[in-house]
């Protein structure tokens, strides 16, 4: 059975995702669009499995500047069966701009006018029938949050009649219209045929200077003619033509809305609530304080509750482990199950609770509308380091785990911002590095636990922002990306929606990182137990041999021993494996390991090692994600190279200066 494709499109903050979740009954498949890393969600329409709903990225226009817009445009050019355009009815003017572009693409459009409850407070009347008639499209009023109108929308989709639709022709008037017509006629005369495009679309987009369309028309020998037309019109309007088209479209919308909307004389108080909240939240002083408070709260909740759940899960694993130890006789099998499989699962579990909580809180803040405010508040500050406000969110996520941090850079439109953020994300200490810090701080700085921990985290942040500044000026100097950010009205998301969004993110993380981590832990296990017969992880095992080879290189930084080298190598798999490797090598755990380190290492060596483990090569899951997000091995190898060099440098300085000072 060939499924009918229904594309769901709309502005960001139009409530599109909620509608999508209801339409698909939250059974969406999350993946990527081919070629780019824009998230692709699709799922079957509930009770109508022959309709496949594809969630296009939330965009304001189809200009094809950003990846999001390119994805949407390409999908639309393949002419989906129906396009459902979700609009924020309380902000129709801007939302209708995208609608006009869809209609000009000759799509089969259904308009879902969402957030009608807020719109009704603003307008005493919204003449949907008039709008429907003027645009010649079916319209369904919706209140997505309450699920109102969804059944009507489903009916509209299922019953949509693909009759010979009259082409929507936005009247541009006068000179402009004349020349569009002239090009249209010429295209017809030359029998131009480009799939997905009508003559009018081609004519308009060619005049707008759309490079794709221009290049499509070159084989027909029309480029010179079009350039002449553009020059002629430009001299009349004294402006770039695309600007004229934008103005004309907005003019048309203005005309539409005059016939459709009747604004209330006095707007209800509840509408101003969002602005009132912003008076506090966006206040330069109070806003910053609240921001720091919120971030502090996120950390407290994440780590306090996260650790609580974690220790519970670890208890379960420990029990399974001892059960395997007593009931499995075969030594290799038992070692595989315990040291390989279970420790792999344990590794994931050590940070999964933290991560889920972090995702949950960040998703909630995003859904409520706070994250846009954070980007606004912090933008100037971030610019000191060559970044922009939106880059803050990936970095915050990085305290949980670098993998989702790298993934969440997708919200950054400009390539230079995005890549710079990806490059520095590994320097923000993730939660998997915490066990290392705790071990070394307990061993060497038992009296300064809090401040030492703070110091390591701060070092990461300082290195990250300095590197950002460096990379930005070294690699991406000349790009000027506009910072246009909507500050949407605050909306309380439903619990279901927040959990669902969180679940999608966790699912994506798990499918990406966990299999890899598991595989790598097993490989390290194999390296530790081979050649057969050696003591697990000892100097004679493969990992011990590799460690011994590398150890001399690490001498100048203070820990040129095979133990330290092996621990660092295994830490590339996942950071907290450093701790388990050390515990294997020293044959001690918990307090025993702390004692072993405290007696066999000097304080300076321990400190130097801790800094190295905070900075050097990120874990494999992160590296794999960086490769995937940058679509380049080079960037991945660059990260490996610069983090190793930076870690070495910092440890070298600390150890050498420390030695000179007599520590």
């Amino acid at each position: 059975m060939v499924k009918k494709e229904i594309d769901l499109i709309g502005n960001p903050n139009s409530g599109k995702t909620t509608i999508f979740n209801i339409l698909t009954g939250s059974n969406a498949k999350v993946g990527n669009w081919p070629g780019v890393t824009v998230e692709k969600k699709e799922g079957a329409l509930i009770n109508h499995p022959d309709f496949q709903i594809v969630d296009l990225p939330g965009i304001y226009s189809l200009s094809a500047y950003s990846d999001d817009e390119k994805v949407a445009k390409n999908s639309l050019l393949k002419k989906p069966s129906i396009v459902v355009d979700i609009l924020d009815s309380s902000n129709l003017k801007r939302n209708l701009y995208l609608t006009l572009q869809l209609l000009e693409m000759n799509q089969n459009v259904i308009l879902g006018l969402n957030i009608m409850d807020v719109a009704k407070k603003k307008y005493s009347e919204i003449k949907l029938d008039v709008l429907s008639e003027l645009l010649n499209v079916p319209i369904v009023p919706l209140i997505g949050q309450k699920g109102e109108g969804i059944n009507n929308l489903i009916d509209a989709i299922v019953e949509y009649k693909h009759h010979e639709t009259v082409e929507f022709r936005l009247p541009y008037g006068g000179e402009l219209e004349e020349h569009i017509k002239k090009i249209e006629d010429l295209l017809a005369e030359k029998k131009v045929s480009i799939s997905g495009y009508t003559y009018r679309m081609l004519a308009i987009q060619a005049l707008e200077g759309d490079e794709i369309v221009r290049s499509l028309l070159i084989p027909y020998g029309l480029d010179d003619f079009i350039q002449k037309e553009i020059n002629h019109l430009k001299s009349i309007f004294k402006d770039d033509l695309e600007m004229i088209f934008i103005e004309k479209r907005y003019g048309f919308i203005e005309g539409l809305l005059k016939q459709v909307l009747i604004r209330r004389k006095t707007i209800e108080n509840s509408l101003g609530a969002s602005d009132k909240v912003d008076k506090v939240i966006l206040n330069p002083v109070l806003g910053l304080l609240i921001f720091f408070g919120v971030m502090f709260a996120i950390f407290q909740v994440t780590f306090f509750f996260g650790d609580y759940i974690k220790s519970f899960l670890e208890l379960i694993i420990a029990n399974i482990s001892s059960f395997i130890g007593t009931s499995v006789d075969n030594k290799i099998l038992s070692s595989f199950l315990n040291d390989g499989l279970l420790s792999g699962v344990g590794t994931i579990i050590t940070f999964l609770p933290n991560l889920i909580l972090l995702f949950l809180l960040l998703t909630f803040l995003e859904d409520i509308g706070y994250m846009a405010r954070v980007a606004y508040l912090i933008d100037r500050f971030m610019r000191f380091f060559g970044l922009q406000g939106k880059a803050f969110i990936p970095l915050i996520t990085g305290f949980g785990c670098t993998v989702p941090a790298v993934m969440s850079t997708r919200t950054l439109e400009s390539k230079s911002d995005r890549f710079t953020t990806i490059m520095i994300a590994p320097l923000i200490s993730c939660s998997a590095r915490l066990p290392i810090y705790i071990l070394f701080i307990s061993a060497f700085f038992p009296n300064y636990k809090g401040s030492m921990l703070f110091l390591v985290y701060m070092l990461g942040i300082i290195l990250a922002v300095s590197m950002a500044k460096l990379f930005k000026s070294a690699f991406f100097r000349s790009e000027a990306a506009p910072f246009v950010l909507e500050l949407p009205p605050y909306r309380i998301p439903t619990a279901k929606a927040t959990f669902l969004h969180t679940w999608y993110r966790v699912k994506e993380f798990l499918s990406r990182a966990s299999t890899l981590i598991l595989a790598m832990v097993i490989i390290i296990w194999a390296l530790s137990i081979l050649p057969l017969g050696v003591v697990y992880g000892s100097k004679d095992s493969i990992i011990g041999i590799i460690g011994s080879v590398i150890a001399p290189i690490l001498k100048p930084v203070g820990f040129g021993t095979y133990e330290a080298a092996s621990a660092l190598i295994s830490g590339i798999v996942a950071k907290e494996v450093v701790v388990s490797t050390l515990s294997t090598i020293y044959g001690a755990q918990g307090g025993g390991l702390v004692h072993a380190l405290a007696t066999q290492w000097t304080q300076l060596q321990g400190f130097s090692f801790m800094l190295m483990s905070a900075i050097y090569v990120p874990c494999l899951a992160t590296l794999a994600t960086i490769k995937q997000e940058t679509k380049s091995w080079n960037w991945m190898f660059f990260v490996i190279a610069y983090t190793s060099a930076l870690g070495y440098l910092v440890s070298f300085i600390v150890y050498q200066v420390g030695s000179l000072l007599g520590f």
Binding site: K93, E247, L377, R380
Partner: protein, 217 residues
């Protein structure tokens, strides 16, 4: 807006005059007129380029952008107002009027400009190419979007600047004749938040610089 200093304004003024009188402005002419060294003039021009006020083709003349013309005309107009006032009403000689106008033009307040205009209007219609009736509109009401004070509303007149940025902000609904209000300034003075139609948005000063608006009382 990133505040223009005296040198920036003087150079804009000079380019404006050279373009008007000689048809084009060359670096050497600018340097000569302002008695700056060539390398210093070059540096100053670079700064104006980064502010989007002038363009320079390689080895070609220096050309004011539309924003540059806007800024230059503001300074020129103010200059002429002050000079005419000093000369006609305070009876100062040409040289002194010119010299003092050059200094005063950079620091004069909107209130004083309004008062001078009122005073001059009694006897004059035009000074230079400028119509006195347009003085208040031009010097007090017409601003860049980034120059609004919190709470002020304005009508959008024109969007200038780089094509990609211009298109982005226009598609967002920042277009001619719309009313926009500055509702807040972020910590450290940038970005700015605005209300437009039915929604709020944030722009950096650098982008808001490209939008020319007219204050609404």
């Amino acid at each position: 807006m990133q505040k223009l200093n005296i040198n920036n304004q003087d150079i804009l003024e000079t380019i404006y005059e050279l373009e008007k009188n000689k048809g084009k402005a060359r670096l050497t002419d600018i340097a000569l007129k302002l008695e700056f060294s060539k390398s210093r003039t070059n540096q100053e021009i670079k700064k104006l380029i980064s502010l989007g006020l002038v363009n320079e083709d390689k080895y070609g003349p220096i050309v004011l952008t539309k924003l540059g013309i806007f800024e230059a005309e503001r300074v020129m107009f103010t200059h002429l107002l002050i000079k005419t006032f000093l000369k006609n009403h305070l009876m100062l000689d040409e040289e002194t009027s010119e010299k003092d106008a050059c200094a005063i033009e950079h620091i004069i307040s909107e209130e004083t400009i309004k008062a001078i205009v009122k005073h001059l209007e009694a006897n004059l219609d035009n000074i230079g190419n400028f119509n006195l009736k347009e003085a208040e509109e031009y010097l007090v009401k017409k601003k860049r979007l980034s120059e609004l004070k919190v709470g002020q509303k304005a009508k959008i007149l024109k969007i200038e600047g780089l094509r990609s940025i211009k298109k982005r902000i226009m598609e967002f609904g920042i277009i001619k004749d719309e009313t926009i209000q500055l509702i807040g300034v972020a910590p450290f003075g940038d970005p700015l938040s605005f209300n437009l139609n039915d929604f709020n948005l944030s722009l950096r000063i650098k982008e808001a610089d490209n939008v020319i608006v007219e204050l609404i009382d």
